[in-house]
């Protein structure tokens, strides 16, 4: 497993963990672990930086972003900071030049137009995904399986916010089992350029290695300006768990 090619040795990826101290609610760290290990097993060096409240974000500071879910209070704080620190603007520009991003649950919601809680004003998002989210009284909870451009993805969702995609938005996939964005239109998540947002915990990446590798590949391609083909890993275990989840929950 610890094989690596000499040609890969020069590669280095910086993972920008957006608000990792506040937005890490349930197993989100597993996605960071998956990115890190899958890169390291290929001899790619990985550095993880936490980008949080008050921090400035510069262009090219991170090669890939991860944005997890948080408690309601944290979400308010983060929504305000994205705008105040202008990190929101920088993230948008970075996405425009192809930097990959994975956001889940709360993070996904704040990358849309806004999140409207039960009480109080709307929390503004950064308008990256053409989508908006409304608080609801339904808890959408359980195992979820979707069909996507990455094949079937498996995870676990737990949210009461209902996300509605606007015209022109591309869903990450269609729900085969579970609730998805809003429990109604069978869409789940959103994808824009190389940025992915969704409700899938699980953790998502360890059991969906195809998506994990796509994010890594895009990160390297954007950073080094050339087409990258990642060395394959032995994913027997991951694919077995993936297949079992589909069999059991799909």
């Amino acid at each position: 497993m610890k094989k690596f090619k000499i040609s890969n040795l020069k590669f280095k990826i910086i993972v920008g963990y957006l608000y990792g101290d506040l937005m890490n609610i349930y197993g989100d760290t597993g996605n960071i672990i998956a990115l890190k290990k899958r890169a390291e097993w290929r001899g790619i060096e990985v550095k993880i930086i936490n980008i949080s409240v008050g921090d400035k974000l510069k262009k090219e500071e991170a090669d890939i972003f991860f944005f997890g879910g948080g408690q309601d209070q944290a979400q308010e704080l983060v929504s305000a900071d994205l705008i105040k620190s202008s990190k929101g603007k920088v993230i948008k520009k970075e996405i425009e030049r192809g930097v990959p991003l994975l956001s889940i649950c709360g993070g996904y919601q704040l990358l849309g137009d806004y999140y409207k809680p039960h009480k109080g004003p709307k929390l503004p998002g950064i308008n990256l995904f053409p989508a908006y989210t409304l608080a609801s009284h339904d808890r959408m909870i359980g195992n979820i399986v979707i069909e996507s451009m990455f094949g079937q993805l498996v995870g676990f969702e737990n949210h009461s916010g209902k996300t509605h995609l606007k015209k022109g938005a591309t869903a990450l996939g269609m729900v085969r089992k579970g609730w998805g964005n809003n429990g109604k239109d069978r869409t789940e998540g959103c994808i824009y350029k190389n940025a992915v947002g969704c409700y899938m915990h699980g953790s998502l990446l360890p059991k969906n290695p195809k998506l994990a590798d796509w994010l890594l590949q895009k990160a390297l391609e954007v950073k080094y300006g050339k087409e990258i083909k990642l060395e394959p890993l032995d994913d027997t275990l991951e694919l077995k768990a993936h297949a079992l989840a589909i069999k059991k929950f799909g």
Partner: protein
């Protein structure tokens, strides 16, 4: 009249579940009885002179058991909810089980463990003399909600308690400390010198809280436990705890603080601990039947159920592992375990990994494969991991070639399953027969 009918129904259900062997009778009797008499808990609890309520994410069962053990040795008649059944129905079941219709059997003390959510609805009904808050960690979001929500609800409940209630809080848990301001009366704090719990982890602390009950001069003694000095106002007690890990020192402190508040002879507390036996699966040491080779097998069970608790278990076990030992981990995703297994990614399985040798590791349970992936990403060698979802088979496999000790780390329902497997092989008695 309704109360009597409810008790009778509960007793009948208890009898039937035992007769038909469909459970331990720790929840169903209460559930049925409550449907007839919703005020059953309140009415029956009134007959008990003193009640203690214990809540928190981790350590409830150990604290309650330790306190009950000491209270009984001090001559009190104790009633409590057993077997980790810490919802209202569990408490109702215990009360029904111990209730007699004809003459009221008297108890001196009720010790009740309540889970994070049940605390708010049930604690006021028990009219507690003492309330203990052990800690708060992330746990089954699908059941309890976010930590802030749990804390907010606890504060609301605390506000309603009479000011002469004795409230004991973990002074090292920054979240738990926030509860103090919600209570009208005085709050007593317990904690360990030099330690602080922030979020999911225990840190060495810089500044000391003003603690009413403190453990100091802490020495950890591997899997055998620890030794420390219990201190309260004008009193110090050298203590040897036969349970390993810092987290058990907190449970001991809480039990000690309760005992002190109850006016029990606390100079006997340490002595009482020497013959304390742990609750099922809470660091249980097992003498496994002799193997075909004639070697006796030694086993340990450590319940793991949430990131903080699991990480604490890993920290306790890791320094004591030897190359010949075997690990058997079992992850289920039943309702009582949490249907979301994401939490394993927040538990620091990296701490369980040995660096200079590969442990023989078996993953079991309904989500055995998820567990195996977690271990792979913690740099365990996947080739050394055996996956066997069926726990009985996994246990057999672990025993088949056991050389050193067997460490079993199950989630809640996997632990119940394990108990029945062990019973069948003659190792353990049924858990509901425990006193």
């Amino acid at each position: 009249m309704r109360l009597i009918a409810a008790i009778l129904l509960g007793k009948t259900v208890a009898f039937l579940t035992k007769l038909l062997k469909i459970g331990g009778g720790s929840a169903a009797p209460g559930l049925y009885a409550l449907s007839i008499e919703p005020n059953l808990v309140k009415k029956l609890a009134l007959k008990i002179p003193r009640n203690i309520v214990i809540t928190g994410t981790n350590g409830k069962t150990t604290t309650a058991r330790m306190l009950a053990h000491f209270a009984k040795e001090s001559g009190l008649k104790v009633i409590r909810n057993h077997t980790g059944s810490n919802l209202e129905r569990g408490i109702a079941s215990a009360l029904i089980h111990k209730s007699s219709i004809i003459n009221h059997q008297s108890f001196d003390l009720g010790i009740w463990e309540l889970d994070e959510a049940a605390f708010n609805s049930v604690a006021p009904k028990l009219n507690p003399d003492i309330v203990v808050f052990l800690n708060i960690f992330r746990d089954q979001l699908d059941r309890y909600g976010e930590i802030n929500t749990v804390l907010k609800n606890w504060q609301e409940t605390l506000k309603k308690l009479p000011s002469d209630t004795k409230v004991l809080v973990n002074g090292d848990d920054v979240n738990i400390l926030k509860l103090s301001s919600a209570f009208k009366g005085k709050v007593q704090k317990f904690g360990v010198k030099d330690f602080k719990i922030i979020g999911e982890s225990i840190f060495h602390k810089k500044e000391q809280e003003n603690l009413d009950f403190e453990a100091k001069n802490v020495k950890l003694n591997g899997l055998n436990g620890s030794s420390f000095v219990l201190r309260t106002t004008n009193y110090e007690l050298r203590t040897i705890l036969p349970l390993p890990g810092i987290y058990h020192i907190y449970d001991t402190l809480a039990a000690f603080a309760c005992a002190h508040n109850l006016g029990l002879p606390i100079n006997q507390f340490t002595n009482s601990l020497t013959h304390y036996t742990p609750a099922f699966g809470r660091v249980e040491k097992l003498d496994l039947p002799r193997l075909a080779s004639g070697k006796a097998g030694l086993g340990y069970i450590f319940l793991i159920k949430n990131p903080a608790g699991a990480t604490q278990v890993f920290e306790t076990i890791a320094p004591n592992l030897k190359p010949n030992d075997t690990l058997l981990l079992a992850l289920n995703d039943n309702l009582a375990d949490g249907t979301d297994v994401s939490w394993i990614w927040d538990g620091e399985f990296e701490k369980l990994r040995t660096t200079n040798y590969e442990l023989r590791t078996i993953c079991s349970g309904s989500r055995a494969h998820d567990l195996a992936i977690r271990l792979k990403y913690a740099e365990f060698d996947p080739k050394r991991i055996t996956i066997e979802p069926d726990l009985q088979k996994a246990f057999k496999e672990a025993r088949r070639s056991q050389k050193g000790r067997l460490f079993i780390l199950p989630t809640y329902t996997a632990m119940l399953e394990l108990q029945s497997i062990l019973t069948k092989s003659g190792v353990k008695k049924h858990y509901w027969k425990e006193i």
